[in-house]
Symmetry: C2
């Protein structure tokens, strides 16, 4: 088991990574002082719910289980209401720790339930997808969707523990797994050229889900995210780096209708667009762009975006919640391994779209 | 205009008190850096919405208005959803400041909307009832009700400003006004014997809504609450003092069905019960209890609680969200002006109920 800490003062918490951790009763017990409510999805419940509940109960933690419908379409106020009702019916109080067992939807929604149930209860993230393990489970962002926009309702609420059982990735469908790799690649691009080179050297091992390569990639990713989040908990500055590829990516997801492309697929094509834009602004060279494209393509991820036309793209990007009063701030690369954020003239963005949005 | 500060480090904020403040464009502008969304109720809208919106727009603040149904029955997820939808439809972003114009329902619900819209936007409290002015608008507690319990869903989220226009009390119905006085009396009892004596001396002026007496009583109340909240933002210790009379009071409200008695009426009878219990435990004398009863009676508030029988009372109090694992912690008086919190044997509580719950 490897461990790192997210340094957030009195809200600091550990991230532990290793195979078989969902059975580690002592580790769970150490972060769950009283009772637990495990929240999971219909897909994950038959795979891991019984095991983690058994570990908790075996450690003397009174545990209830809440099983939610599966998928992004369940990330709604109605599903949240199911969680609140179950907690109230079981008379869960302010000492109950919610345990989010699943992917990003379960993690975001359970985290938001924890942020708001009786004005806030503790929670533990047990992410079971690569995307959730390297991204959404770290950083304290919680949310549900609104009919008028994704993640529009939410809160910042830090978990007490992120427990990453790498063995749970064995049950992850290939397309979802590769989608998670997009975020791993992102960390190399925005913050760590050495890690980017390591990824180029170990991509085949990662694609084979080699345990050792996975543990390294997850720890490195979480460590970069944890450092950025600790420096900028509420997303006023460098935390925006984490959105490399996401401004374009969200436009792709919204333009196609959410669910058509996976999040990581949209982010992958979005990172190609961000790299192209960075080259047009003279920050990186075309050889750098090609290096980005090559790695993303090797991971089996899209390097071209759908062609909606520049006006539609710009309109979708202006509607993103990171845009303030209609000004789009792009995450760019000063060089590989170094991010920067700035507005860019629409005409230059249109040129990038003409190159990248050709799918 | 009088002003005090709630000292919460980087979340410190001012409370300003005085007549006519809702027209004070410069004061509003100083705490609202970009645009505003004023949230109010159908009852308050015709009285004050036009004036505050005119002040804001006159100061160059783009302002939208959201009018909600009136009353405690509107403090629901469905009403909250109305606020989110209005904000999204008007493309309000993370720089939009919500302005809660109204009583406790509007303040609590708007505060919770601010805590959760796009993971948190600033808000300003403009309370228009005495109860909201001396209690709910200060301290950062926000919430909505759930079908299974009051204030069960919420967050701690501090406002940027609490602006108390004492002139708005002119439109408050007498029964609601007297209900607010219960919380004012509470501050004297838990923290300030001098203030308690001042209230005894100035109760007639307060009942006549004398402007000068009101400003003093509101400032003193807010100052006590602000100091307690600053010392204990998240309600782990002395903040519990603020619940004097509330454990019994919530049981009265729940037992009668919410809305039958006003909150302050239930708290008033609850404070009599807490005083009686404190005397039974030997902390205060019977003369002290009589002094509490006399002041509450002079304010036109109930000094006897409904008679549900002790079992029902104890059951209702165990269901309160402040109870942990079924242990009820009572707020008591060590002496007048000094509070303490501790569990009490059911038999002693039953004796108090036999004396006080005779209505």
């Amino acid at each position: 088991m490897d461990e790192l800490r997210v340094e957030l003062g009195e809200r600091a918490y550990p991230i532990v990574v290793g195979p078989g951790l969902i059975d580690d009763a002592a580790r769970l017990r150490a972060s769950i002082p009283a009772s637990a409510a495990v929240v999971t999805s219909e897909r994950i419940a038959p795979l891991y719910l019984g095991r983690i509940s058994a570990a908790l109960r075996g450690a003397g933690v009174p545990t209830i289980e809440i099983v939610l419908p599966d998928g992004e379409s369940a990330k709604t106020a109605a599903t949240l209401e199911m969680v609140y009702s179950a907690l109230l019916e079981k008379r869960c109080d302010r000492k109950t720790t919610l345990v989010a067992l699943g992917g990003g939807v379960v993690g975001d929604l359970t985290g938001f339930a924890a942020a708001t149930y009786q004005r806030g209860v503790p929670y533990v993230q047990v992410p079971t997808t690569l995307l959730a393990q390297v991204d959404s489970s770290v950083g304290g962002k919680t949310a549900i969707n609104h009919p008028l926009g994704k993640n529009m309702i939410g809160a910042f609420h830090q978990p007490n523990l992120v427990l990453i059982d790498t063995a749970t990735l064995a049950s992850l469908p290939e397309r979802e797994y590769r989608s998670g790799l997009a975020e791993v690649i992102k960390y190399g691009l925005i913050d760590d050229l050495d890690f980017l080179a390591w990824l180029e050297g170990h991509l085949d091992a990662l694609l084979a889900r080699d345990a050792q390569a996975l543990t390294h990639a997850i720890l490195r990713s979480c460590s970069i995210k944890a450092r950025i989040v600790a420096a900028d908990e509420r997303e006023s500055g460098m935390r925006a780096w984490l959105n490399l590829g996401h401004t374009f990516g969200h436009a792709i997801e919204a333009g196609l209708g959410y669910g058509e492309w996976l999040h990581g697929e949209a982010v992958a094509a979005g990172m190609v667009a961000a790299a192209d834009l960075s080259a047009r602004l003279g920050y990186i060279g075309t050889a750098d762009v090609e290096r980005v494209v090559r790695l993303i393509a090797r991971a089996g991820l899209p390097v071209a975006a759908p062609n909606f036309g520049p006006d539609r793209y710009l309109g979708l990007m202006r509607g993103d919640k990171k845009s303030e009063a209609g000004a789009i701030r792009y995450v760019l690369l000063t060089r590989l391994g170094v991010a920067r954020v700035e507005p860019v003239a629409d005409a230059i963005v249109a040129a990038t779209l003409a190159t990248v949005a050709t799918g």
